[in-house]
């Protein structure tokens, strides 16, 4: 019989064998610590995500002015 898990370690084996609620609770502890330590809730930069760019600041207009749009122009 082959070895099923290629980089088997006790930590993963223990994690796999927990009940879903136990994993959830462990994950919540990490979450609480993360928030208390001032961790950011902003999206992680991920260049492979199809919507990574939507969180980026919009590019400045070419003339450097605020994003005014011309909606009507006089004849002059």
């Amino acid at each position: 019989m082959n070895k099923a898990f290629e980089d088997d370690c006790d930590e993963w084996a223990d994690w796999y064998q927990m009940e879903p609620i136990e994993r959830w609770n462990e994950s919540q502890k990490l979450w609480v610590f993360y928030i208390q330590a001032g961790g950011s809730l902003d999206p992680e930069p991920d260049s492979q995500s199809p919507f990574d760019f939507i969180y980026a600041p919009r590019p400045a207009s070419v003339d450097g002015r605020p994003g005014l749009r011309l909606v009507r122009r006089s004849g002059i």
Binding site: A4, I21, R23
Partner: protein, 224 residues
């Protein structure tokens, strides 16, 4: 259906948002809007919340401002590439009790694995862990459904060889859907490793192609 679902099924992901899959429909959207209002959630990016964008496969992104959930992000989707429509996802979901009065409906493991087949590096080790966790939990007395799932979705040579060796009678049926199992069946490790790599590469390319027009649409919406 995102990082929290991965944790519940046995992978490990530290997710900074909550991903929700929603059936589009007037009543559901009304209920979603009401829940988002209770969280004082405001949209933080394009596109706007509408059945049209959800049906096209876009995600709608929100950030909560209600004090108990301040800063938390919620992403809502209705359609995911390669994943069955909501009407099929719902009956096969898992209900998880998180407390005496709290339960949540979680996308099924096979559907979650399907949703994770994206162009992103980080999703592929997640699939591996999800399948391994399921194997670790059920290897002692698996059903034929478990075995078929492992044969369909396992991402490592070791696990595939192991399952193919233990359940040779179940391999041919799945091999029709996943031809690389022919290498697992005869123990060709190097060929199997190469085929797994190619399979991932193909799937990632399909995802890139799928997202190209959606990405373009997002860029246009962002320019408006």
């Amino acid at each position: 259906m995102g990082g929290q679902a991965c944790v519940l099924y046995g992978a490990a992901e530290f997710s900074r948002d909550t991903d929700i899959v929603l059936m589009t429909g007037a009543e559901n959207l009304r209920r979603l809007s009401s829940a988002l209002d209770a969280l004082d959630a405001r949209r933080i990016a394009v596109p706007p919340l509408s059945p049209e964008y959800l049906q096209k496969g876009h995600a709608i992104h929100f950030r909560c401002h209600q004090p108990d959930a301040k800063g938390m992000r919620v992403d809502v989707m209705s359609v995911m590439r390669g994943v069955a429509p909501f009407e099929e996802l719902w009956p096969r979901r898992t209900t998880v009790e998180l407390g005496p009065d709290t339960s949540c409906e979680v996308i099924s493991l096979p559907d979650l694995v399907q949703a994770k087949k994206t162009q992103r590096d980080k999703d592929w080790p997640m699939i591996r862990r999800l399948v391994e966790a399921n194997y670790a939990q059920h290897a002692a007395s698996p059903t034929s459904q478990h075995v078929a799932f492992w044969l369909r979705e396992a991402r490592t040579v070791g696990l595939l060889l192991n399952v193919a060796e233990a359940f040779p009678e179940l391999v041919p049926a799945v091999e029709a859907l996943r031809p690389l199992l022919c290498f697992a069946r005869v123990g060709q490790e190097a060929r199997l490793a190469e085929a797994l790599e190619q399979e991932e590469k193909r799937e990632r390319e399909i995802d890139r192609v799928y997202w190209a027009p959606l990405r373009q649409e997002l860029e246009e919406l962002r320019r408006r």
